[in-house]
Structures are given as structure tokens and as C-alpha cells.
């Protein structure tokens, strides 16, 4: 099995996530797109770990997972806080810092 296929799949998922992050206006879905990009990067790391015959890539993927979990916790708390004050989860409504 050619490992390049895994890398290309990882690139496809990363670009889909990037597209979703730029296009969607709902903060939750934009956040999910970020998760998708993180997972695409994880897939690339696990693939390279397999190709090079070392476990360091898997360790890195594991740490990315931990950091992503922490990021989700804080990010969702921020979304809830903004929703409480603005009654909206759209990224277009967060314009308090603009003026």
C-alpha cells in the first residue's frame, strides 16, 4: 500500500476543514471544521510514523489529541458565554472589539 495515498487523504480533509472554517458563519460548525483540520494533521503524523518506523509520530498525534481536547473545552465555554450575552452563535455578531 502506497503511503502517499494517506498523505493525499490527509490533505483533502485539511482543505475541506479549511473551506468549512472560512465559509460557515455558525461558530460551532467553524469550530468543528478546526477539529477536522487537526485530525487531518494527526493522520499525516501517524502515516509518517508508519513510514519511518518510529513511534514519535504517534506520540505527537497523542499530544495533539490532548491539546485539541483542552481547546474544545475552552472554545465551547467561550461560545456559550458569547451566546449568553449576544443571544447568537453566529461569528458575524461578535463585533464588540471592532469599534
Amino acid at each position: 500500500m502506497n503511503p502517499n495515498a494517506y498523505i493525499i487523504l490527509s490533505a483533502i480533509l485539511l482543505c475541506i476543514g479549511l473551506f468549512g472554517f472560512m465559509v460557515r458563519r455558525n461558530a460551532l460548525i467553524a469550530f468543528m471544521s478546526v477539529e477536522l483540520m487537526l485530525n487531518a494533521a494527526n493522520l499525516a503524523m501517524v502515516t509518517f510514523s508508519h513510514v519511518h518506523g518510529g513511534l514519535d509520530g504517534q506520540i505527537a498525534a497523542f499530544f495533539v489529541m490532548v491539546v485539541a481536547a483542552a481547546e474544545v473545552v475552552v472554545g465551547l465555554a467561550i461560545i456559550i458565554t458569547i451566546f449568553r450575552t449576544r443571544q447568537s452563535a453566529s461569528v458575524d455578531d461578535e463585533n464588540l472589539l471592532k469599534h
Partner: protein, 306 residues
């Protein structure tokens, strides 16, 4: 010559197609719940791909951390924010969607051309690195050996994140909580000043057709108790407001009870026709006669005892 088809190749082509389809579903579906479901599907597909790459520990961790914990958080947040909130499809920046599409496609082409064919050696495989110890034990040697400081740092990070989430989502109570004594005093005062009934409010559905939350209770005089349903439901307009629908079963039950009572009290067939003023008046008359005969019977009983 038949190409060699390994289990890894089968797993890759099945789960890669599923993962890309689910990722597109995540980005393109309009409802957040559908997106969450698609994201869970992507995570499971990626977990299976990890398994095909000799990473059983990451396979399990991916399923537990992502489809378990992270998706649960997402769905909880969605429940708070509102499941039905459909994304507005209005472009706030003109031409942004087209630009984003072109940008993502350009990045994809760049990545595929740059690194898509970068691996020219055969994969070394993990057999040598893992050795006799097995995947999980080898990872543990690395995590608690060479990467122990990074591991400790993630521990600190997780604790900080949990604390931050609690601080951020904590809502300060604006008014003091009303205790039982204060509530009793308030109800009594309202009864004295405005004549509001001091008793607790009835539950939804008391005396009405159903006891579901969208059926208001009926007060003993047959009127609808507006305060017995949750105001949120009333604002959404799902509460049954037709009084006839709420009262109808009671009327039917009343008539049935009356008919059974007539049977039990020995009205003979055809006796109703003898009473000319109609059945309702006859029942009233019967009730009167019962009330009149009650004390008399009591008196007779007393006489018997003597």
C-alpha cells in the same frame, strides 16, 4: 498480473471514501446536528485508518476522546444554543464564498503536488520500533521517558483548561435565591393585595385530557389555569389552548357516571318516561329526596337501637 490487495488497502479505500463524504457533509449540511453527526463519522473513519497504520492505541484513544468526550461536549453546547438554529446563508463579505473555495482548492493542489508524491521509499513498518513490547507499552516507554516533560505540561494544560471552562461558563446569580419563608410571605402579601390564589400552582394536565406538559390544568370550576404550563412552551405556541378539547373527556365521564348511577339506584326500564320534567330534573329531585330521607333514616336507626 493481479495487483496485491492487502487488508490495509481495503481498509484505506473503504474508510477514506467514507471520511471524505462525511467531511463534505460536515461542511455542507445546514443544521448543526447533522454536522456533528458527520464529524463523529469522520472521527470513527480516522480511527479505523489509524488501526490500519499499526496504531492500536491511537485507534482506541481517538474513539474515546473524540467520538466520546469531544462530540458529547459539542452536542451539549448545541443543546444550550438551540438545536434548530439554521445557519444564515447570507454572504456578509461579497465574493467570500468563491474566494474561499478557490483558496481551499489551490491549497489542496499545492499540497498534493508538493508532498503527495514525496514518499519514495517503502514504508519501514513499526515492527522494529515496537519489538517484543507491543504498541501500548512502547508508547508508554516514550511518554514516560523521553517525552515526560511534555506529558507533565499537558497535565497542567488540561487542569488549566478545566478551570478556564468553569470560570467562563459560570453565571453569577443576580438576585438572592428565594427561600421558603420569603416565598410564603410573598404569596400571602399578593393574596392580600391582589387576590392571587396563595396555593401552589397545579401541575400541567390536572383534570385535563392528558398529563403531558403542553396541556394546561383545569381549575375546579372548569376554567383553564394558564400558569400551569411552562412559559417557554406557551411562547412557542405548542400549548393546547382550546378549552373544549381539554374539558371534553370530563363531560363524557360525567355522563357515563350519571348513567351508571341511574342503573345502580334501581331506576326500572321505562321509569324515566314516567317522570315528565326530563332526566336532569329527575336526578335533582332524587338527590333532594335522598337528602330529605337521610335524617329520617338516621332517626329510624336510632329508634331501632332503643
Amino acid at each position: 498480473m493481479i495487483p496485491l490487495l492487502t487488508a490495509q488497502a481495503v481498509a484505506f479505500w473503504v474508510f477514506a471514501v467514507l471520511a471524505v463524504a462525511a467531511a463534505l457533509g460536515l461542511v455542507l449540511s445546514r443544521k448543526p446536528v447533522h454536522s456533528a453527526l458527520c464529524l463523529a463519522a469522520v472521527m470513527v473513519c480516522l480511527a479505523c485508518l489509524y488501526a490500519s497504520l499499526d496504531a492500536p492505541f491511537l485507534f482506541v484513544a481517538q474513539i474515546i476522546v473524540y467520538t466520546g468526550a469531544v462530540m458529547m461536549l459539542f452536542v451539549f453546547t448545541m443543546m444550550i444554543i438551540g438545536v434548530d438554529s439554521v445557519d444564515a446563508m447570507v454572504e456578509t463579505i461579497k465574493g467570500q464564498r468563491i474566494a474561499a473555495t478557490i483558496g481551499a482548492a489551490a491549497l489542496l493542489v499545492l499540497l498534493v503536488l508538493a508532498v503527495g508524491h514525496g514518499i519514495i521509499t517503502e514504508p519501514a513498518g513499526l515492527d522494529e520500533a515496537v519489538g517484543q513490547a507491543g504498541n501500548v507499552r512502547s508508547l508508554a516507554y516514550l511518554v514516560f521517558g523521553r517525552y515526560v516533560f511534555a506529558f507533565e505540561a499537558t497535565a497542567a494544560l488540561l487542569i488549566t483548561a478545566a478551570l478556564a471552562a468553569m470560570v467562563l461558563s459560570h453565571g453569577e446569580r443576580l438576585r438572592k435565591k428565594e427561600r421558603q419563608k420569603a416565598r410564603a410571605a410573598r404569596r400571602t402579601r399578593e393574596y392580600a393585595e391582589q387576590g392571587v390564589d396563595p396555593a401552589p400552582l397545579p401541575n400541567p394536565g390536572v383534570y385535563a385530557r392528558h398529563n403531558s406538559a403542553d396541556h394546561p390544568a383545569l381549575l375546579p370550576d372548569g376554567s383553564v389555569a394558564e400558569g400551569s404550563v411552562v412559559p417557554t412552551l406557551a411562547a412557542r405556541g405548542v400549548v393546547v389552548v382550546d378549552r373544549g378539547r381539554l374539558v371534553a373527556p370530563n363531560i363524557v365521564a360525567d355522563e357515563t357516571i350519571r348513567a351508571v348511577k341511574d342503573e345502580q339506584h334501581g331506576l326500572l326500564p321505562g321509569e324515566n318516561e314516567l317522570r315528565d320534567p326530563g332526566p336532569a330534573a329527575a336526578i335533582a329531585a332524587a338527590a333532594d329526596s335522598e337528602a330529605a330521607s337521610g335524617p329520617a333514616e338516621a332517626g329510624e336507626n336510632e329508634e331501632d337501637e332503643r
